[in-house]
Amino acid sequence: MLLPALLGALFVLLPLVAMATRVQWGSFAELITSESSLQALRLSLQTSATSALACVILGVPLALLLARTSFPGLSLLRSLVLIPLVLPPVVGGIALLYTVGRQGLLGQQLELLGIQITFSTTAVVIAQTFVALPFLVISLEGALRTAGTRYEIAAASLGARPSRVLATITLPLVLPALLSGTVLSFARALGEFGATITFAGSLQGTTRTLPLEIYLQRESDPQAAVALSFVLMIVAVLIIAVARRRVTA
């Protein structure tokens, strides 16, 4: 029991420690404050925050639909929603390309409206939202099922219309799950690479997020790549720590 647990912990921790030992601390500050690094970090934080917001806006209704209604095809829909979890992100990127790309399903109409999504920051947000949405939906749907419907029935019986029940009963009851789901999807968006590089491209300040920058720096400046990886890791640890405190408090 204890040994596998220790092995499991080591399995996660050791690579992080190993990376920390490879960081050239002497030039660390210099490495991570280059113009391209800072732009990548800023872009990553902005797009991930936007994606997390998009996940809330799209994911809350979806989770409610999955947890509180029944219709033919519901279980199929539930499986489909989770697809981005198991799909390689590159495949997600290709799928998005065929959806809103120039030659894609909606591309023609978008082009008529003068909108080009590929190669834009919007594309980054779309790619991140695509891969992060299931995290929010899963955690929220689970919480909704656990909470059950008895409080909602009681509220309706006291004369509260559905919108009020949602705002004053349903959502407050699952608030911890909503918060942790949002943080998870933010973290997932922050780490997103495959779908972004496939669908959005890579241009400094526009679409080159931190993971893309790290991957690129690996080609020319491995030390900068390691330093940036370490920064990304620290950001991830901070997010998780803050989220856990929030949720358990």
């Binding site: 008895r150 029935i153 009681a154 019986s157 006291l158 004369g159 509260a160 029940v165």
Partner: protein, 343 residues
């Protein structure tokens, strides 16, 4: 009539019609599975009838085609579980219905605090539901339901989950607050019926089999279920002008033609055991039966023999060494038997 209900739900074997008058408390009783909960669901709007109509104060709530949603019915349900909202304070819980119906915040708060003192919990306004005892929580639930001022209150065994020592105080609270409120009370407890209900309706197998003012139903039960609730033996037979089926005489307060189906009610405490060869006193009828079982009943022993229950003193039971299977002679005095027409 405030509530008029007429509904069938074939998949639940329900076919029922009942009315509740303005300000009246109707006790809905019946064995488990009789359909009591289904009737409440029909009225609350969580179950759609296949056919029929439900109106409340003249407003159509349900038909086979129409279903006014639960929040728009002015019908509030209080079940045995208080279901207080865990993220709201006690005062916010009570104010919930008022706020939902558009009462301004300040007035809702005032009314909530009035209700808090009404239920005797004035100093617990800011507590969370998790900090309340079971009895306190159910008081808050009552206040919350009533503060929403529903046109009709549905009580679904509101005291079934409470400790036996807090039930009386809560029953007293309900007796006080339910006066003049239109209420349907589902219960298994005769004490609830006699203290709270103006009328009783008996549901069996999805149908209304008996109903009437509480005192009448308990005094002249028509059904075995009601007789058990009233605590009497119920025998059914044909009136021959003097006795029931030629064996049982009793007090008949109305003139009934010979050949009419009648019921005879007698309290178990008024059923005697005739010892050995003792002769029955004049006016006592004797019924020969076989003992089925014995059980303790307060300071007496309840002896069941066929369809008749007799409450005997422990001394008598000991003297006779009564065992299941024994042949016994039971004596019933005509003065203790009430006879009335079957309906």
């Amino acid at each position: 009539m405030t509530l008029a209900l007429e509904a069938t739900v074939p998949e639940r074997g329900l076919d029922v019609a009942l009315d509740v008058a303005d300000g009246e408390t109707l006790a809905l009783v019946g064995p488990n599975g009789a359909g009591k909960s289904s009737v409440l669901s029909l009225i609350a709007g969580t179950l759609r009838p296949s056919a029929g109509r439900i109106t409340l104060e003249g407003r159509l709530l349900s038909t086979g085609a129409l279903l006014v949603p639960p929040h728009d019915r002015a019908v509030t349900t209080l079940a045995q579980d208080p279901v207080l909202f865990p993220h709201l304070s006690v005062a916010q819980n009570i104010a919930f219905g008022l706020r939902a119906q558009g009462t301004p915040r300040r007035r809702a708060r005032e009314e909530a605090s009035w209700w808090l003192s009404e239920i005797g919990l004035g100093d617990l306004a800011d507590r969370r539901p998790s900090q309340l005892s079971g009895g306190q929580a159910q008081r808050v639930a009552i206040a919350r339901a009533l503060a929403a001022s529903p046109r009709l209150l549905l009580l679904d065994e509101p005291m079934a989950a409470l400790d036996i020592d807090v039930a009386p105080a809560l029953r007293e609270l309900l007796r006080r607050v339910l006066a003049e409120r239109t209420t349907i009370l589902v219960t298994h407890d005769v004490l609830d019926v006699v203290t709270l209900a103006d009328r009783v309706a008996v549901l069996e197998g999805g149908r209304l089999v008996e109903s009437g003012p509480t005192a009448d139903v308990l005094a002249r039960p028509q059904q075995q279920f009601t007789a058990r609730l009233a605590g009497v033996n119920l025998l059914t037979g044909t009136w021959d002008g003097h006795t029931v089926d030629g064996t049982l005489a009793g007090m008949m307060h109305e003139s009934v033609a010979a050949g009419t189906r009648v019921r005879a009610a007698v309290r178990p405490a008024h059923v005697d055991l005739l010892e050995d060869d003792a002769h029955p006193s004049p006016g006592t009828m004797v019924l020969a039966r076989q003992v089925t079982d014995l059980e303790p009943r307060g300071d007496a022993v309840r002896v069941r023999a066929g369809e008749i229950a007799a409450d005997l003193t422990p001394q008598l039971v000991a003297r006779q060494r009564l065992r299941p299977g024994d042949e016994v002679r039971l004596g019933i005095r005509a003065a203790d038997v009430a006879i009335y027409p079957a309906r």
